[in-house]
C-alpha cells in the first residue's frame, strides 16, 4: 500500500522507537502535523523552537535516547540553530527535522525559505535533504544511527513539503549501508597494554575523565579501574557523575572554576589516562602549564579529539565502555603494588590540597549566599536529583556544590555555553525521567531567555523546579568586570526585572520569593510537594558574590585566584 511521505516519516520515527518528540508546526509541515494528529507518538509543543530543541537535548542527556524535534521552514529552522550547535559541542544525539519549501521552489527565495542545510553545515554531525519519498525510511534509519553511535551528535533532516505529500511504498531497510561511517568501538589491544604498562610504572598518575564516560555509561568500569589501580580521578565539567562525587578516589573537576586540588594536581602528574574528553581550553588553562611532565594516554571514540589541543603519546581510538572493559580484562596482569608507596604520597598530597582549599563560601553570612542555595538543594534532594543549569555563575556553583552520584544527573551546556538552555533542558529531562526530581539552577539573566516555556510545563504538567539565584546581574560578566575591568559594570545590571512570583502565577505555575536564609531549605522542601506544575523559586542572593577558585584567561591550572 502506498503511503504519503508524511506517513512514511511518522511510521519511520515510530520504528526507531520514538515515543516523545518536541516540535512547532508551520505552513510546510501541515501535512506532517496532520499525520502526527493520529499518531501514538506524544508531541510536546514548546513556545519557541529554541525551547523545543533544548528540551529534546535535555531529554536525550537524561535518558540516553535520541532526542527528536521539529521546526518549520525558514524562521522555525533558523531558531533551531543554537540548539543544534549546542548539541554538537556537547555530543548529544539529536535528530532535527526541519520543514522546507517544495523542491520546485527551493532556490527561488520562496516564503519562509532558508537553506538550513547550508546554515547548519558546520554544526551538525551530518545532514540530509529528502529528494524522494522512497528514501525517507533509509534517511531516518541512517539519521538515528549516525546521531547515536560513535561520538553522538545532531543530524538534520530537511523535509521539502512536496516530499511529504507524494506517495511511495513503505520499505523499511534491513541494514544500514554507510561506507564512509564506521566508528571504531574496540580499542587496539597493544595500545591498551602500553597504557596499562605506563600506568603501572607511574608514581604520580591521574585519570582525567570527560563526558565520554557519561555518554557511554561506563561509570562502573571507570570506578573499578580507579579502585584496582589506586589512581585518583579528576573529571572535566561535563564528566561529573562518571564516578560517584563522594568516592574517595574522586578529586573533583578541573578548569577555570574547578577545585583547587584538581587544578594543582594537573600541573604535576607523570602520567595521565584521559578518557572520553577533548581537552577544552576551559579545562586545561594555558597549555604549557598543563601537565608539562606527563606522558598522556587518551581513550576516545573520536580520533580527531586525540592530539587536537594536547599532544598525546598513547592514542587509543574506541568507545570508552568497550576500551575500559578491555583494560579491566588485562588489569590483573600488572603489579599495582609496585609504586604503592609513591602513589600513596601522591594521593596524600592531593588530599592535603583539597583539605587546605575546598570549595567554600562564607557560611556565617546572614544574607543568602548562592552557594548555600545549591548546597541546600543537594541536602534536600539527597544528591539524587537531576540538575540542569543555565550558564554563568549559577552553572559553576551548581558544579561546585552538588555532588553527582551517577551519569546523566548533571545536564549543562558545557561547550557552547548557551544561556537559556537550562530551563527547557530541565523540561525535557523531566519528561524523560518523570520519576526523578529535576531542578534548573538558574541565573536571573539566563532564565529570562527561555522563560516562555513555563507555559509548556503547565500544559503538560511538568513539575520541574527552577531555582533562580537572583543577583540582578549578569553575574559572570559582572565578576569579570569586577576583577579585570576596574569595576566598570558595562551592561551587566539587570535592575529592571519582572516579579518572578507574579510571573509564575500568571502562567498558573507556583512562584516563591525567598529573601531570608532560614527560609531557603523550607522553600525547597515545599517545592518538592508540588507534582503537577512547575515551581519558580526566586532566591534573592548576595549580589556581589564571585565564583572561586578562578583560573584567569591565559593562566595555567596552578595559577588560580582564590579570592
Amino acid at each position: 500500500m502506498k503511503m504519503t511521505g508524511a506517513e512514511i516519516l511518522v511510521e519511520s520515527l515510530r520504528r526507531e522507537g520514538v515515543d516523545l518528540l518536541f516540535g512547532y508546526p508551520g505552513g510546510v509541515l501541515l501535512g506532517v502535523y496532520d499525520t502526527l494528529f493520529d499518531s501514538e507518538i506524544k508531541h510536546i509543543l514548546p513556545r519557541h523552537e529554541q525551547g523545543g530543541i533544548h528540551a529534546a537535548d535535555g531529554y536525550a542527556r537524561a535518558t540516553g535516547k535520541v532526542g527528536v524535534c521539529f521546526g518549520t521552514s525558514g524562521p522555525g529552522a533558523t531558531n533551531l540553530v543554537t540548539g543544534i550547535c549546542n548539541a554538537q559541542m556537547d555530543s548529544v544525539p539529536l535528530v532535527v527535522l526541519t520543514g522546507q519549501v517544495s523542491s520546485d521552489l527551493i532556490g527561488g527565495d520562496a516564503f519562509q525559505e532558508a537553506d538550513i542545510i547550508g546554515i547548519t553545515r558546520p554544526v551538525v554531525k551530518h545532514s540530509y535533504l529528502i529528494s524522494s519519498p522512497e528514501e525517507i525510511t533509509t534517511v531516518i534509519k541512517e539519521a538515528f544511527h549516525i546521531a547515536s553511535t560513535g561520538r553522538p551528535g545532531p543530524v538534520v533532516v530537511d523535509l521539502p513539503k512536496d516530499m511529504m505529500a507524494q506517495k511511495a511504498e513503505f520499505k523499511w531497510p534491513t541494514k544500514i549501508d554507510l561506507p564512509g561511517y564506521n566508528p571504531t568501538v574496540k580499542g587496539h589491544l597493544g595500545q591498551i597494554k602500553k597504557m596499562l604498562r605506563l600506568l603501572e610504572g607511574a608514581k604520580k598518575p591521574v585519570i582525567y575523565m570527560g563526558g565520554g564516560v557519561i555518554l557511554s555509561g561506563s561509570n562502573e568500569e571507570m570506578t573499578k579501574l580507579s579502585e584496582i589501580t589506586g589512581v585518583p580521578v579528576i573529571s572535566s565539567f561535563l564528566g561529573q557523575g562518571g564516578i560517584p562525587g563522594t568516592h574517595e578516589n574522586y578529586i573533583g573537576w578541573l578548569g577555570m572554576h574547578g577545585n583547587y586540588a584538581s587544578n594543582m594536581a594537573m600541573a604535576e602528574p607523570d602520567f595521565i589516562l584521559a578518557v572520553g574528553t577533548r581537552f577544552s581550553d576551559r579545562s586545561t588553562g594555558r597549555l604549557d602549564g598543563f601537565a608539562p611532565n606527563a606522558t598522556i594516554a587518551h581513550i576516545d571514540v573520536d580520533p580527531s579529539s586525540i592530539s587536537k589541543n594536547v599532544k598525546i603519546d598513547v592514542p587509543i581510538v574506541g568507545d570508552c565502555m568497550a576500551v575500559l572493559k578491555q583494560a579491566l580484562a588485562e588489569v590483573d596482569k600488572y603489579n599495582w603494588d609496585k609504586n604503592a608507596s609513591a602513589r600513596k604520597d601522591w594521593m596524600a598530597k592531593i588530599k592535603a590540597w583539597d583539605k587546605k582549599q575546598p570549595f567554600g563560601y562564607d557560611r556565617e553570612a546572614d544574607i543568602i549566599k548562592p552557594q548555600y542555595v545549591v548546597e541546600s538543594i543537594y541536602k534536600v534532594t539527597k544528591g539524587e536529583a537531576i540538575i540542569c543549569t543555565e550558564v554563568g555563575q549559577n552553572q559553576m556553583w551548581a558544579g561546585q556544590f552538588y555532588k553527582f552520584k551517577e551519569p546523566r544527573q548533571f545536564i549543562s551546556s558545557g561547550g557552547l555555553g548557551t544561556m537559556g538552555y537550562g530551563f527547557p533542558a530541565a523540561l525535557g529531562a523531566k519528561l524523560g525521567c518523570p520519576e526523578k526530581e529535576v531542578f534548573d539552577i538558574a541565573g536571573d539573566g539566563s532564565f529570562m531567555m527561555n522563560l516562555q516555556e513555563i507555559c509548556t510545563a503547565m500544559q503538560y504538567n511538568v513539575a520541574v523546579k527552577v531555582a533562580i539565584l537572583n543577583n540582578k546581574y549578569l553575574g559572570m560578566i559582572r565578576q569579570w568586570q569586577n576583577m579585570f575591568f576596574n569595576n566598570r559594570y558595562s551592561e551587566c545590571c539587570l535592575d529592571c526585572q519582572p516579579d518572578f512570583v507574579k510571573l509564575a502565577e500568571s502562567f498558573g505555575a507556583v512562584g516563591m520569593r525567598i529573601e531570608k536564609k532560614e527560609d531557603v531549605e523550607g522553600a525547597i522542601r515545599e517545592s518538592l510537594k508540588i507534582k503537577d506544575r512547575p515551581v519558580i523559586m526566586d532566591f534573592c542572593v548576595d549580589r556581589e558574590e564571585n565564583v572561586f577558585p578562578m583560573i584567569p584567561a591565559g593562566a595555567a591550572v596552578n595559577e588560580m585566584l582564590l579570592k
Binding site: K125, L129, I146, P179, G180, Y181, S304, K311
Partner: protein
C-alpha cells in the same frame, strides 16, 4: 609544509561544501582543490593541496575522515606520487616574437592550441615549479591571461585511492 591530499567521496548533495566549509571553518589553508568523477559515477576524487605543520595536517586528515560522505583520505605527498596541474596561457605574440615563443613552448613541452595575429594560447602541464618557470620566461612578451586547474595527484604503484573496502 605543503601536502597533497587525495580524498575519495560519495557523489552526494553538498559534499563539496562540507569539505570546503571544514577547511574555512577550522582555519585550514586550501592552496588548490580539484574534483571530478572517478570511473564509478557514484564516487569522486578530490585533490586538495594544503599547507600546515604535522599537527595541522594530522587534524585535517582526521576531520576529513569524520565526514560521513568521505570514504578514504590519503596524504599522497607522503608517498611516491605524480602531481600535475594544467595551465592555459594567453600571451601576446606577433610576427616578430612568435617563433621565439614557439621555441620556449617546445622546450617546456607545451602545446599551442590557438593563434591569432597578435596572440597565442598555450596549454602546458606539469608540476607547479615547471609551470611557474614557463610563465616567468613568457612574462617579457606580455601575458594576457592565465587560467589554471588545481593540482591533481596519483600515487605510484598498484594501489588506488578508490579501493576503500
Amino acid at each position: 609544509m605543503r601536502h597533497t591530499i587525495s580524498v575519495l567521496v560519495e557523489n552526494k548533495f553538498g559534499v563539496l561544501s562540507r569539505i570546503s566549509g571544514l577547511f574555512s571553518g577550522r582555519g585550514y589553508n586550501i592552496e588548490s582543490l580539484s574534483v571530478n568523477n572517478t570511473m564509478e559515477p557514484e564516487f569522486s576524487i578530490m585533490t586538495i593541496v594544503t599547507t600546515g605543520d604535522d599537527a595541522v595536517i594530522e587534524q585535517i586528515i582526521k576531520q576529513l575522515r569524520k565526514l560521513v560522505n568521505v570514504l578514504k583520505v590519503r596524504d599522497v605527498s607522503q608517498m611516491e606520487h605524480i602531481e600535475r596541474e594544467m595551465h592555459l596561457v594567453k600571451v601576446k605574440a606577433n610576427q616578430e616574437t612568435r617563433s621565439e615563443i614557439f621555441n620556449i613552448i617546445s622546450t617546456f613541452r607545451g602545446k599551442t592550441i590557438d593563434i591569432t595575429n597578435n596572440s597565442l594560447v598555450v596549454e602546458i602541464t606539469g608540476v607547479s615549479d615547471k609551470v611557474s618557470a614557463f610563465l616567468k620566461v613568457l612574462e617579457p612578451y606580455g601575458i594576457i591571461e592565465v587560467v589554471r586547474t588545481g593540482s591533481i595527484a596519483i600515487a605510484r604503484g598498484s594501489k588506488s585511492t578508490t579501493d576503500f573496502k
